[in-house]
Symmetry: C2
């Protein structure tokens, strides 16, 4: 799977768009956009709601997804479960309009601030944020830990929206 | 490197703390904390400032870092550059007190909301957030792209704080 992903990404990478990584100083202190993709050709992406600032999801982009996001202002990712370019909201209509795209110090992580269309949800399970559960902090029992819910109800019915498409969650 | 990491993590993983991943329904809709670690034994972690909601950093945790974070309420990570457990702030004093720890739908990403000690900075380059630069959205030039700075000045001098310790940024 990783090998297929790597080959796919090599095929779609448009290397001229991004600067080569030449020095730590250039990467950390310069103005060159020189993102670092991992061995599978992917970079981690945190997406937050531009209004509430809540973290909506963590996704991954290949070079093509990153460049399309920059060019169109619509969030694109690389779907690791489906192994394809993924325009967020293509099926659900819950697209993400990018207000700001930031890059971190060593340029191996992206932060998108977005406005989500429609109901504003970004989670395939139906919740607004993928992070609808918390783990109790300060629990010294050694586990197991019981999750606590922070969203009372789903914003949509996944069966109605996605039908019988394969669930992206992998065990 | 990946193999060494995997072996290290196998050695330190306390498997009884976390539930086994048995079904999609259990992982997405249940109360079992069943985090998914990748092939290197790591899980991605987004850390935000509990006051400003800004994304401060993206780090990675192995099982031990995750459990220590839960137990102590102080953010621990796995340093991929140094290949060791990393109590954030151990050198700089800029520790992160965890206000909330959330897990996402398929339980392969963690979100920490933290209060940072001292100056409130979380970036080894000296800025408050690691995400101190943005990429212009809507740029259809095809690149290269010029980064824009969003923090005017550093909160500390990295040389004074870290001395001649190796820079964690990898090219």
């Amino acid at each position: 799977m990783a090998l297929i992903n790597r080959l796919n990404n090599m095929g779609t990478k448009r290397s001229s768009a991004f600067a080569a990584r030449l020095s730590v100083e250039q990467v950390e202190e310069g103005q060159d956009f020189a993102p670092k993709f991992d061995v599978d050709g992917l970079i981690a992406c945190v997406t937050t709601d531009a209004d509430t600032s809540d973290v909506l999801m963590v996704g991954y982009m290949n070079a093509e997804a990153l460049q399309r996001t920059i060019e169109t202002g619509e969030a694109h990712y690389w779907s690791r479960s489906r192994q394809c370019l993924w325009l967020k909201g293509a099926t659900s209509g819950l697209t993400q309009a990018v207000v700001e795209l930031r890059i971190d110090d060593d340029q191996d992580a992206v932060w998108l601030r977005v406005n989500v269309a429609g109901s504003g949800a970004s989670c395939h399970v139906g919740y607004r944020s993928c992070f609808y559960r918390s783990v109790p902090v300060g629990d010294t029992s050694g586990g197991p830990y019981a999750l606590v819910y922070h969203e009372d109800s789903k914003t949509f019915d996944p069966i109605q929206v996605y039908g019988d498409a394969p669930n992206p969650t992998q065990l």
